[in-house]
């Protein structure tokens, strides 16, 4: 299974580089991505890798006479069916040892980023994440006391991300809950970095808005079912249940058991569940029209300008719709490619300096820049619901 995937991507990479017919390139520069390619996040990461490949294809596989190669690494293990800290560390170390590697695109899970950032930081290798939303990775005051300095052993910033963080998304989620006329909310989380983090932000904002928080519980994401929890939730009769977590941390089972336990109110989840796999795991009938999903970005069909062009190109090349994070995979790769073009020296230090200088970038969600922490200045977020087994865009949040 694993070796088959690897062979497939090697073949693709080979096919792409074969197209490039430039006389004697100045050398090879490699982008490495580290995303969970085994397990249920696979559908989502497939489209992200497609996005990265699309960006590289658009520049013809070369920048300034330098050949651009791409390596698709898997940070999941079959045992966990999810990202694995040991594999992530292995990937980051492999990238550090690879002399031609100038940029690391990843990770998908914020927990995995915690592992990779310090390893890459010591080597001065730039890392651009298309999907990490846990605020503590870049900002102080949201997570542990030593964050984010603990990720910067060299004292320099090497970590950047093109997605808005959870401290923004959680706030918008609570605002939306209020707009949906929820008065009493029950908050659940998966006790992971991302899920607990966004649930905390949601709770803070909900309390600020005067919503009554009737419960706050961390679930066991490996449990067989959540019947007892569903009964407990139902007994407090909330209008809305918020789950901070992902499809991989059992959001589908939570939704199922809330319904079979007799809870009939609204259910809200963050972007970690914004993928078709969530609807498949939960069963569409349990979600339809009463489930709300926030996302730090816009779904494909709502994009304009550069974003719309991306969607058209994506559909033409892959004959499929990009999933939520595909555009960020594309964006992350483009940021790196532009940085390579702007870099004074085509090495790690040069590319790192050029990435951190990214300003007024013409991205899929409009113009944005990296701030001093390495975060995007983009604030575009959207809310969707599930209708007849598919996600349906409802509104732009935060404007």
């Amino acid at each position: 299974m694993l070796s088959f995937c690897a062979a497939g991507s090697l073949f693709l990479a080979g096919a792409q580089s074969a197209k490039v017919a430039t006389p004697a390139p100045a050398g090879t520069l490699r982008l490495i991505s580290s995303l969970p390619r085994t397990g249920s996040a696979n559908a989502q990461t497939n489209t992200m890798v497609n996005g990265i490949k699309l960006a590289i294809d658009e520049v013809g596989g070369q920048v300034d006479g330098w050949k651009i190669e791409y390596q698709d690494m898997d940070d999941a293990s079959p045992q966990r069916g999810n990202w694995d800290p040991a594999v992530e560390a292995q990937n980051a170390n492999a990238a550090v040892k690879d002399d031609e590697c100038v940029a690391y695109i990843g990770t998908f899970n914020s927990g995995a980023a915690k592992v990779a950032i310090p390893i890459l930081n010591r080597a001065g290798l730039v890392m651009v994440s298309p999907a990490n939303t846990y605020p503590g990775l870049t900002k102080a005051g949201f997570g542990e006391a030593n964050e984010p300095l603990v990720y910067r052993p060299s004292g320099k910033i090497n970590y950047f991300r093109v997605v808005p963080t959870d401290d923004l998304q959680g706030v918008e989620a609570a605002n939306w809950a209020q707009f949906l006329k929820a008065r009493k909310v029950f908050i659940l989380n998966d006790r992971e970095l991302y899920g607990k983090g966004i649930a905390d932000v949601f709770r803070k904002q909900a309390e600020k808005l005067g919503l009554e928080v009737v419960g706050f519980e961390g679930i066991d994401s490996k449990a067989a079912n959540y019947r007892s929890l569903a009964t407990k939730v139902k007994a407090t009769s909330p209008d809305l249940v918020y789950f901070g977590g992902t499809t991989q941390s059992n959001a589908g089972q939570v939704a199922k058991d809330l319904r079979s336990g007799g809870y009939e109110g609204m259910f809200m989840v963050p972007d970690g569940c914004f993928e078709q796999a969530f609807i498949e795991a939960a069963g569409a009938a349990n979600l339809n029209d009463k489930t709300f999903v926030t996302f730090g970005g816009l779904p494909a069909e709502q994009m304009t300008g550069k974003g719309a062009a991306f969607c058209t190109a994506y559909r033409a090349k892959y004959d499929a719709d990009p999933e939520a994070y595909a555009s960020y995979g594309y964006e992350a790769a483009r940021v790196v490619l532009q940085a390579i073009a702007n870099a004074k020296t085509k090495d790690r230090a040069g590319v790192l300096a050029a990435v951190s200088a990214t300003k007024d970038f013409d991205g899929v969600l409009g113009k944005w820049s990296f701030d001093a922490n390495g975060d995007t200045s983009s604030r575009v977020m959207s809310g969707q619901t599930v209708h007849e087994g598919n996600f349906k865009f409802v509104k732009v949040l935060g404007n």
């Binding site: 249920s40 696979n42 069916g81 067989a224 079912n225 007892s228 009964t231």
Partner: protein, 318 residues
Amino acid sequence: MLDYQVFLQQLITGLSNGMIIALIAIGYTMVYGIIELINFAHGDVFMLGAFLALTLLGALGMEAWGPTGQVFGVLLMLIGSAVFCGGLNWSLDRLAYRALRKSSKLSLLVSAIGCSFVCMNLGLFWGGVPMKVFADGNSAAAPKDFPAIIPQINLLGDGFLRITPADLLVFAVTIPVMVALTFMVKRTRLGRAMRAVAQDPTAASLMGIPVDRVIGATFFIGGALGGFASVIYSLYNNTIGFQMGTRAGLDAFTAAVLGGIGSLPGAVLGGLTIGCVRSMSDQYLETRWTNTIVFCILVLILIFRPSGLLGSNRREKV
């Protein structure tokens, strides 16, 4: 909801979950009782039973069958998974354990752990089968939705409590199975032979009891109970995955130890206790403490009653 309503509701949930755990726990305890092996592969055999049930459901298109047809379908899955899991468990004994019967208990245990990994990886491959019920096999490791052909609606309408057909199914299957098993062990020739082998295999073989065949039968029966459990589990939780055997196996093993490993009523009591403790802890404490509570209770019981709730205190073997 009133306080005692919540309590009763949690009790129902706890008993339903506990029944499923108990059914798996019996498989552990039977095998332990007869050859003193903790069959770590049991949880994964149970998992494969659930995959077989989903495959049957998908291949025969049971979702489209009417209510009567679906009752028949459930019966079919129960029988299919029971025979399959029983056969698989029997084969594990034949292939991986029998040859080690005379060697140290530790080699047997390591062999069991190996079987567990093999079964788990079989489940991973099975999840990649290109069938509609496995989401076309696109993502082998992802949890699979098990269609709710036993509906999760409240039979009591907007009543006082919530009892679903799935709850009833759990009791309707497990109680008769447990009664039949008790009868079998206590009254039949095979049952007597099993007890004899458990007490002293050498003496049993001197009396003309085919020891290996009796052990094989025990594995088959234990596996078959796991097969029943897998179908009920799937219909109750509506999600299956290749890793579900690990957690279910751990819960069931804990239940078997809690009740006194080797004791059938002990396994049932242990399962029900764990189910109810989980529910009550979820309700009256916090969900995140539930696992801690369960294992604290286990530790306490083992300190004060080292052989478990219903285990016998006398050591029968060296």
